[in-house]
Amino acid sequence: MPVPELFVTFYEVFMQTYKGFLEAGLLTIEITAIAVVIGTILGIIFALMKISHSKILQTIANLYITLIRGTPLIVQIMFLYFGITSIIVLENFWAGAIALGVHNGAYIAEIFRGSIQGIDRGQREASLALGMNRSQTMRRIVFPQALRRAIPPLGNQFIITLKDSSLVYVIGVSELFGVANRVAASNFKQFETFLVVGLYYLILVLIFTALLKWYENKLDVDK
């Protein structure tokens, strides 16, 4: 009977590998966290450039977003890894995290731009009519509302980042997928091993989704 047999081997693989996977999972979380921070910072900067009145800044931001969105992440990881490490010495871990961050920056910039431009024009006008200047209006009125609106798509993007972090295995980072690859190559139980690693990703995503839901609910109190 193949099904119970699968459960047995699945259990075996799980028990044999969980220690290694826990460490790898931690690495996945670290890479994702660093990429999210870098991506958010870049996203804010490039979103501001896009909504600025300067043609030059707009062009730079558009170029960045077009290049990132127009090429596969795996190519960007390889390109950045070999590009950066030919200039400075950098651990694979950092090269991967930075590449993932730069990649996400483009998408996050678009999320922020959309949420800023989605704020009703009347909000800006009411603020200006009260005598607030442009920067006060952005800081106090537009951005706080835009941020609130950006949280659901940002959360979505962070989940994508978590899953995309698996691609840094190509530069030899021992995160979840990298370890799964190695384990599968040595125990020849590819099916069970990738099932196990899939489960780890699923658990991480579910935990993150729950956190996000909780945070969104908290923001919505009274509003």
Binding site: E125, A126, L128, A129, L130, M132, R134, Q145
Partner: protein
């Protein structure tokens, strides 16, 4: 208080204002009427520089405003504006809505701003709503908060852009009452509205705009009862007065 001379405004090829001259004296209540598309809202927005004129001069409190060189934020701080759709800040409580500009623009201490804000909210009858977020308010309450928010800046004049047009009929009265109280206290007001009863009772002057020019400027009695202008009479018939 507010003086407009030869104000022209175009959006692309569409000329909305074709040379408007108007003066509002301190303490005066001027009601702007006209069919939709006559330019009355655009003109009101020009008085607060939310729209910049293509031509013409606007003088606020004796000071000729240079749209390009002057700090428009400073000019706007002296003239309040109330919008059709309230435009309250949804992420701030009623009290925070009212305190925001005095703190940010006038650099008033937070405690002072709070005392003043509560006082003004009392005046518009909303003391009990200070800590509520705007989405918990009715339209009439929202508009009264918007008026309180404008008043907190102690403006020299207030502009109203169809303040009751977005309200359910039963909520119009409470907003008009607040406006009437302000008028009685001597606030200088320019009001774009379709509330002819308000114009009759409260206005010192009624100005009729048509296709971007002023076609009548008269006291309410003359405007509503003795107008010789064909367009004005047609308009009054249309709005059923």
């Amino acid at each position: 208080m507010i003086k407009a001379e030869n104000v022209h405004k175009s959006f692309g090829k569409l000329e909305v204002l074709k040379g408007i001259d108007m003066e509002v004296h301190p303490g005066e209540v001027v009601v702007l009427v006209g069919v939709s598309g006559s330019g009355k809202s655009t003109f009101l927005r020009c008085l607060n520089f939310l729209e910049l004129t293509n031509e013409g001069v606007i003088t606020i409190d004796g000071k000729r405003v240079n749209q390009k060189k002057d700090d428009l934020a400073k000019v706007r701080a002296e003239v309040g504006m109330v919008f059709q759709h309230f435009n309250l800040f949804p992420h701030k409580t009623v009290l925070e809505n009212v305190m925001e500009a005095p703190i940010m623009v006038k650099k008033v201490a937070k405690s002072t701003a709070k005392t003043t804000a509560l006082e003004i909210l009392g005046k518009v009858g909303l003391s009990d709503k200070a800590d509520v977020y705007p989405n918990k308010l009715s339209g009439g309450q929202k508009q009264r908060v918007a008026i309180a928010r404008a008043l907190a800046m102690e403006p020299k004049a207030l502009l109203f852009d169809e303040p009751t047009s977005a309200l359910d009929p039963e909520l119009v009265g409470e907003v008009l009452q607040v406006m009437k109280d302000l008028a009685d206290e001597g606030m200088t007001m320019v009001v774009v509205t379709h509330e002819m009863k308000f114009a009759k009772e409260v206005a010192d002057r009624v100005i009729m705009l048509n296709e971007g020019i002023i076609i009548e400027d008269a006291d309410p009695d003359t405007f509503f009862n003795h107008s010789t202008n064909e367009r004005t009479r047609q308009f009054l018939e249309m709005v059923n007065v």
